[in-house]
Amino acid sequence: MTDTPETPLITRGRLTAFAAAFVLLAALGIGYGVHAAHRQDVLTHQGPGAAPAAQDLDLTGATGEILFRDTEPGPGYGFLATVRRSDPAGPRTVGRTSCERVYAAAGTVVCLSTEYGAIPSHHVRILDSTLGQLREIDLGAGAPNRARISADGRMASWTVFTSGDSYAANTFSTRTSILDVRTGALTPTLEDFDVLKDGKPYRPVDRNFWGVTFASDDNTFYATMSPISTGKTYLVRGDLAQHRLTVLRENVECPSLSPDGTRIAFKKRVSGSTTNPWRLAVLDLADNRETLLAETRSVDDQAAWLDDSTVAYALPAAQRTGSDLWTVPADGTGAPALLLHGGFSPAPLTTGKQ
């Protein structure tokens, strides 16, 4: 520091140096941005994936098909698509509806969509079997990341994940909503439900809920609850009419109830490591017995039951963008099998009559 108070600081030389640095940095930032945008475009849209059909999907009466988000690089990237369950690697039908995550049952579809902009906005769209919109709910700035429909198509649920991180504080919040599609009644959040843990009221300030799955009575549901600062997760059983939640068990995330209603597939935290934290497991509700499934890779997804003995889930695709869909037997036997390349958010299509 050779400056003395007498010499002017803002000299022509310094201004020139700054202007040169400004131009260089702007070139670096813009150049890198253009490069990254191009790379992203190649990864998602310039591939051999199927193109969207002229007409959107019609799921009316569909059975034996799987609905999912197409993530095969190509013109259909990001759109909803279907394949035959009996030939999942065969040709897929790509529609014209774009969703970040999807689930469907008995002719009701829940579609979570995101529009990027200076302020990104997110919506939940409830669609009928021809993907016509029944209802749209503005989620504001919260990014949705879990969605479910009850087996009879009446109840819908989704979880919004919001977090702000600033110098002042780290904040974290998930918000889970439930919609009765038939009556239109919306439960905006589970946070004001009464929670019972070991028979006593439980109300930590930072409790969060995510990943609802519905039982067949359309009133009982299961979800994850976590007081974030404890780092623990709990399986809760909810009673929608009573606005009540009961803690059943620790270390259960993203529950998914089997079609026969006897078992819950879930994410179990098996390691403190950050590379492989979770294993898929199944809990038998009758005798509380847990079974780890044969998938040994870490799964961060709410599993979907394709039938009473098989669950499907997404895993990041090896050496490419997007994800692949896999299945594994629900009783701990067998081995994981690839369902299809380039897919996310699987939902078996059923008519609701089991």
Partner: protein
């Protein structure tokens, strides 16, 4: 128009008569503006980056992580000591800003490794700890005693403007580059480097000649400042008031729990606080110079009392939301710059950096205690009791502080 004023007096301080703010302060404001754009660009997209790209759950990152960090406090005090001892506030500030700038490139380099990401964010925070006190000392030493409030007001205004623009810039960029997060990180790095360059090229260090009769700056001198009764009392009340006010996180969590609008726009609530903070920083800083900074600092806490009252009343709807965020931002504008101006009056030039560092460390300690207490009380007694308890505590602290510091400060 600001730029000419720095040469008008021998020490580069703005002349009190013109009531202008020194060029040094404006340049430091510009450094903070750029740095905040850069940091907020990253922090606003990090949650989405974690979940959508890395597939990480925020659970893994820890809730209280970052509120209080022993290593960063040590670095803050040590850096401040070096800055005072060698009268080298600028080099220490440059080190802090440069460290944070480099961290922006560390994010894509860390990839999906959570340990890597945590390390990068911790180093980023350390950089912030290192630079804050020397930067504030430079602002203070570049201004006359009677314009301290205005100087800090200008700086905080520019700083908050950066925090306001950062998230908007990041999301706009993200949509243009088809969600390529690394492009946001690289852009953030470029903006941060610009900030460091403004500091290097256009900010003058205050290298006053070492006066022969001046006490030597020793390692214990920073904490020794607490032997001064007025500064000790200030630090005590600052720590208590910081403990009695609840963190931004809890204000926003409480808001979104009672208001659907707030819940939907949760990530943007911080912008709602930043807007009034940005607008009122300068006028309230200037007001502090007129009515006394300590008086304004205490008075500003009345805004926070109203925030607590509105939250406890479970009011919802757009009007309540605007009121809470407006009062929250006004609280910051009325307390942040005035507190610095007040501390500047109490601290001698040669130990100002250390004094600021001590006070800011105690503030962080108070915030940490506040978060622990709030979480505990909420779990045991529920929201209404907790908000009422914090309100009562805040009112009690304010009353005692007002009575005990009536003489000598106002």
């Amino acid at each position: 128009m600001y730029l000419s004023s720095s040469r008008s007096t021998p020490l580069g301080r703005a002349s009190g008569a013109t009531r202008r703010v020194a060029a040094n302060v404006v340049m430091l404001g510009l450094v903070s503006l750029l740095t905040d754009i850069s940091s907020e660009m990253v922090s606003s997209v990090l949650p989405l980056y974690y979940t959508s790209v890395l597939g990480l759950s925020m659970l893994q990152t820890g809730f209280l992580d970052g509120l209080f960090n022993g290593a960063s406090v040590f670095l803050r005090l040590a850096g401040a000591h070096l800055a005072d001892r060698f009268r080298a506030r600028k080099p220490v500030a440059v080190a802090g800003y440069a460290l944070s700038a480099l961290c922006k490139l560390g994010l894509p380099a860390a990839g999906a490794s959570l340990a890597g990401l945590s390390t990068v964010l911790a180093v980023d925070r350390s950089g912030k700890g290192l630079r804050t006190a020397p930067r504030d000392a430079l602002i203070s030493l570049s201004s006359t005693p009677e314009t301290q409030g205005r100087a800090f007001g200008v700086h905080r205004m520019m700083d908050t403007a950066g925090a306001f623009c950062g998230p908007l810039a990041a999301f706009a960029l993200l949509s243009v580059v088809a969600t390529a997060y690394d492009a946001v990180f690289v852009a953030s790095f470029c903006v941060a480097v610009l900030g460091v360059l403004v500091l290097l090229l256009f900010v003058r260090d205050r290298r006053e000649p070492a006066a022969p009769g001046r006490p030597a700056v020793t390692l214990g001198a920073g904490l020794g400042l607490l032997r001064d009764a007025a500064f000790r009392r200030t630090c005590l009340f600052v720590t208590l008031l910081e403990t009695a006010t609840i963190s931004d996180a809890f204000v926003y969590l409480t808001l979104q729990r009672q208001d659907d609008l707030a819940a939907r726009w949760f990530p943007l609530l911080a912008l709602g606080t930043a807007a009034p903070y940005l607008l009122l920083s300068l006028p309230l800083g200037a007001l502090a110079d007129r009515v006394g900074p300590w008086r304004l600092y205490l008075g500003g806490h009345l805004c926070f009392l109203l925030v607590l009252a509105l939250l406890a009343g479970s009011h919802s709807g757009p009007l309540a939301l605007v009121l809470v965020l407006g009062l929250h931002g006004t609280f910051y504008a009325a307390t942040d710059a005035p507190l610095m101006a007040h501390a500047a009056r109490l601290l001698p030039d040669h130990a100002r950096t250390s004094g600021f560092a001590v006070m800011q460390s105690l503030q962080a300690l108070g915030m940490f205690a506040s978060s622990l207490l709030f979480g505990l009380a909420y779990r045991l007694q529920g929201p209404h009791w907790t908000l009422a308890a914090f309100g009562t505590g805040l009112l009690a602290c304010l009353t005692v502080a007002a009575v005990l510091t009536k003489r000598g400060s106002a």
